[in-house]
């Protein structure tokens, strides 16, 4: 009887792993140029990602229902206030299905960095977003330097120093 149990269980697990293998998608970093997404900024109108070339861009895909975003927003706001003069641009790309949910979240957590509401599914797909929230650090040349999925308060310090390090690099100001 235990053999039959074992076999059925093995079948089930094989299915699961096959599934995982065929569906696996990675958010690859390193030496990939950031996709030039069109973004409709709430306080700035239509824009494209390319227009921020020359600055370090921190693109954060977020949603009102994402619990870690409650902690990532104060972190990003503080980072924006401290590092924007040094050339950092933070873009919050909202993924809510209903823009009202995003507005409600922003009313309770006002931020000074630009936020793009609705219509960003295409952008998320191009970036290969694999979890919520996802943040992409793009250097002055437009290359994605790091991908961070999720947000834990203890990771904030390391993230921030990576951003500062990227800011310190010489960009192409020509």
């Amino acid at each position: 009887m235990s053999q039959v149990t074992g076999r059925s269980r093995r079948i089930a697990i094989t299915f699961a792993f096959l599934f995982a293998a065929t569906c696996a998608s990675g958010a690859a970093a390193g030496d990939r140029t950031a996709p030039n997404c069109p973004l409709d900024l709430a306080r700035g109108g239509p824009a494209r990602l390319e227009q921020f070339r020359g600055k370090v861009v921190y693109v954060d895909f977020w949603a009102s229902w994402c619990v870690p975003c409650l902690a990532s927003f104060p972190f990003m706001e503080r980072m924006n206030q401290d590092l924007a003069p040094r050339g950092l641009v933070i873009l919050g790309v909202n993924m809510d299905a209903r823009p009202e949910d995003a507005q409600h979240f922003l009313a309770r957590h006002p931020v000074s960095f630009p936020v793009a509401l609705s219509g960003n599914a295409d952008c998320a797909r191009k970036f290969g977003v694999g979890g919520m929230p996802s943040s992409y650090l793009i250097d002055r040349k437009g290359v994605i330097r790091s991908v961070h999925v999720g947000f834990r308060p203890g990771e904030a310090a390391a993230l921030r120093s990576l951003v500062e390090h990227t800011l310190a690099e010489q960009g192409t100001r020509s």
Binding site: M1, F15, C23, P68, A97, A124, G131, V149
Partner: protein, 78 residues
């Protein structure tokens, strides 16, 4: 014999949703499309404290052992 049948049936049932999903296609739900699943009332057990009391009370009057909700689903936040 009865136990064997139960285990067989159980294992087949176990592989059923996995098979279903494989057939349904893997790109069915993007990470940013999990908003509805993240809502509190979409959790598999939206009232865990009440379920605990209910299963405790029922196990004193019914022969079937208690059952537990495990994690999974929800917002998939990392």
């Amino acid at each position: 014999m009865m136990l064997l049948r139960t285990v067989l049936r159980g294992s087949i049932a176990l592989s059923l949703p996995v098979a279903l999903a494989t057939l349904a296609g893997c790109a069915s739900v993007e990470p940013w499309e999990r908003g509805t699943l993240a809502e509190p009332h979409m959790a598999l057990d939206p009232h865990p404290a009440r379920s605990a009391v209910l299963s405790h009370v029922r196990s004193s009057r019914e022969a079937a052992a208690t059952s537990v909700t495990k994690s999974g689903g929800g917002c998939g936040c990392d």
